[in-house]
Symmetry: D2
């Protein structure tokens, strides 16, 4: 059994980590922290887990957590992780960070998040997208990718690796749970129901992650655009990748390329039809469908933003770090309808 | 043209008052107040009205508003109206108050809202439910009913007036706009979507209004219960009135009773089927349907909580106060689908 | 491992049976039938299960299924089960029937469903509500309860067993998946979104099941009423049980009664607050909350209609029939948000 | 008063025509046809209009309608209009056709809709997008544009007219009422709620309209792509136009261009922020917002698909054809929230 700590367990990603780890055959949750909710039962917040977990939120020091746990998930806001992570690593535990703090080189991070980075360790963290990155098994620190980047990168990676994309325009539609548990104008039901909202249209903070990863696959790919939308849904991100190619491509060829690229990747399901959010709800799958028309290839990817886009991918990384089957505890079927 | 002021114009009921009055042939909006938003355009908040109204939020003193306006709608929180209304009345204008401050006798108000009433004028305000109350035409102060009471009272009034109800149980399902424009846990999309929430199950503040009005019709009716729910909808209240009668009643007889009772009431549509919220969305109608089984009569009423349950009814009261046709400006068709 | 057949596997309850059994440590699905979809992959319909089950829909004769399977779930329409079930039983397998065919005495069934019963075996099937019925372990034929009855009966059973209910009015709010996979006016998005629909207001076919079970607990309880509504949700039934008692009851006493009654029942979670649908989504839990006011006790129960209201309860019955822990394969946490 | 006929009045666009014309100061609805519903009250289908219109569905011959009406709206399926329209025109009435039959040249129509055109009159109908086309006032036959084309064309027209677009990619998100009143898999609530569906990804039938109109403005613009999605909403289309320009453009310059282009067009509201669907719900407005980033300009347009995307635009065309103010009867404020 792996002893596990969750720092910042009161939000949606914290709740999902608990939900997934409760179903994991090798996981033992030792501590779940929340400064705000110290000493109250975890199930006061995560009511659905009543009867399934019997822990109170705790507030141990990082060193204490490190001594108890073989791996710690940090599910804290951007900017907070960089204070905690070095202490955890110093204490000898391994860390999977769900914040943005270790995904980008220092300069890019600082430009994007408008704050200094107090723990720059460029190259010291592995970008935790297992379908594209090796090195996770040996890593002490894994930077779990953002939700939008996960869906966008996986939708375009095979074609990017071929070097034939001229323009990549990612138009994403997300459920609102990505905005967190705090009520806001965005999540206010009368504002979101029966509505669609485009936001951060040309400059969302997840764009640099997408650029970083696709550029790794195709250094000449410069024209990468990303526009997110919120739709009336709790969970899920559907990304429509409009890829303008340097030549016309045949559907069968593209489908073959994707099937080959994702061969042996258990969580990417390349389909012969277009996926939708209910195909993956609650699960760690990323479903992909393809359409071709002229010089445009449209790839549609569907993920659950809280699972493959956050906590599920984090557990997938944990599996790799501890030499477990990549799918351990993660093959719970999606919930549909 | 009637010169009109709206005090507290930044919320949903304020926005609806403007929307409805813009379509009213005799209405001229002179001022819309908001302390918080002073000097910003009304359309910064009510974006949908862009191009249709060219006013900034103002903060005139009540005396000033009274001197300019023939009638003032007060759409402020409970407890705030009692500060403003006496000043308006003293200034010689007439007032339609959308808060709870003047709907109940002082003692009942204070018990229900847990605060002293600083402007008790028992009997000095008319309860503004035109289908049941005369005296609105002559009133200087009309207390516009609550949203739930409007739907509940209209659903049961004909049978109450016959004196044959033993138990009246109102189970209401409301859209969330009744909770206002401020984001809250209740209105947080992930909490409300795909959900139903019962709240204030035995002691909602609207219960005394329902009791007051039905008791007026049947002094022996003591067993009145009310349980509200929030459902995933922006607008509308569907009330299922479970009425246990002192004898079995025949459907045709009940339908006949309702048709007769609401004869000449233009906004109550007694139907031969069960209404739903889309039948009345955006409109001032209260649709009513009936089912009978044994000693239980079930009456279902549907209203738009922001229109017949608030601002539309307020305009209906205004029409009566100024000798206009009751339906002036209020026959805009519902929006369906 | 238990060899299992599913007859009628293309609908929502069929899909849920597969989803749940895939997570069950002792279940082996041998065959899933669908006449309409014979020889097509199960995952063509249940797309979310792609990669998790590798079976085609088959159309074996009942005798063949009976010879292969230790237990068969019949998830076919009302009226169809009574043709198949006797053949299965004759073949020596055990049957859990999810239709209404074996829940009621012959006469009540025929009056309710307006058709003759061709396989009456009054007393020959056990009503599969494990929290109230013994005898499931030994049964060859279990009649899995309806979705509404499950939530309604569990909400009122403890008070009914005390004999103090005068009137029981069940006002239920259901997601639309209970209406099945076939598009209809009821499930048409523009008809249901932003709406609430009351239907079969005094005479829903599930009422006789509720009456049957509560009358077993209190023979003097005659006044049982039930009104269902559809709300804009995919899954879940929230039942508001308005119980008029013969005396005032104290909250703590009622809570104590419920805790005691459901002691040792792992799927009923008696709460000290009011549950909502997200507390149980995707899970086999029935959450219950209580409020008291005067002579009315209001009990709110929340279930997932496809799980505790159908397929999950069926698996719970299977566990009991095969001497497994009641919770085997059924403690997957709910999906929230 | 203008005497008006509506052929095919039982669907959503028929209902919206009636709703809008009831509020029109110069409109008199003489007949509403439906073969299927002949002799039943219009309000049996359009329940929300109960009490507001007192007509039965009729089935007069086109010649009879033509003799009674000054203008006829044909709201029938594609392919059906071409049978009826010539008879109406021969009868001397004017026609506004809401189908696709007269929007495209014969060859393009036949290629797109896969059927022969039996009434080709290339050049004989005016494309009824008043913001771009003159000649409506004098036309006897107006081809009302499709819903998607209305939002897409208006979002890009100013920049197309400048000749600086290299690639135009329209990613549209639509409410499901565009699919009509008949229940289908697409409109089945469990399929659409909490979901987003991309469909006809590279070859939707509305693409040729978009190409036709934008090519008129910029003959060198060849790279026009369109992908529609259905989102969980009843009404509205939000179009995100990703426009790759031949050079970087400055936000203020683009905003200025749009303001100038739509100067004097009362239904296009160019905003300094991004619109969403609630800004226009129920109204004839097309709201437009702009964002610029590098060589990409993103224009977001929001319309109500049943109003500006269908029936409202048809009434706008009627106003122009009869010399009325363009806005007559069409300034009903949007319904928000």
């Amino acid at each position: 059994m792996i002893d596990i700590g969750i720092i910042g367990g009161s939000g949606y990603t914290g709740g999902e980590l608990i939900r997934l780890l409760l179903q994991h055959p090798e996981a033992r949750i030792r501590t779940v922290t929340s400064r705000r909710l110290a000493d109250t039962p975890v199930t006061d917040v995560h009511r659905h887990l009543t009867g399934l977990i019997d822990l109170d939120f705790a507030t141990p020091a990082p060193a204490e957590i490190a001594s108890e746990c073989e791996v710690v998930f940090t599910a804290v806001p951007h900017g907070a992780a960089m204070d905690i992570v070095p202490k955890l690593l110093a204490g000898g535990t391994r860390v999977i960070d769900l914040s943005a703090d270790y995904r980008l080189p220092q300069q890019v991070f600082e430009d994007t998040y408008k704050r200094p980075h107090t723990d720059p360790r460029d190259g010291g963290a592995v970008f935790g997208l297992p379908e594209l990155h090796g090195g996770i098994a040996e890593a002490d620190l894994v930077a779990n990718p953002g939700c939008y980047p996960t869906g966008a990168i996986l939708s375009a990676a095979p074609l990017a690796s071929e070097g034939s994309i001229e323009y990549a325009i990612f138009d994403s539609k997300s459920g609102v749970s990505g905005a967190g548990t705090d009520p806001s104008a965005t999540s206010h039901y009368p504002n979101l129901a029966e509505n669609v909202r485009a936001y951060n249209i040309t400059a969302h903070r997840h764009l640099p992650e997408i650029v970083q990863e696709l550029s790794r696959l195709d250094r000449s790919l410069n024209n990468i655009y990303f526009t997110p939308h919120v739709v009336p849904a709790i969970r899920g991100i559907l990304t429509t990748a409009h890829l303008i190619m340097n030549r016309e491509l045949d559907y069968d060829a593209v489908l073959g390329l994707y099937n080959e690229f994702y061969q042996g990747k258990p969580f990417v399901r390349v389909r012969d039809s277009i996926p939708d959010l209910s195909d993956v709800r609650g699960s760690n799958f990323c479903d992909i469908g393809i359409a071709c028309g002229g010089r445009r290839v449209v790839v549609v990817s569907a993920i659950d933003n809280l699972v493959k886009g956050a906590s599920g991918q984090a557990v997938q990384n944990m599996n790799l770090m501890f030499g477990l089957p990549e799918t351990a505890g993660l093959l719970t079927p999606p919930l549909s309808p």
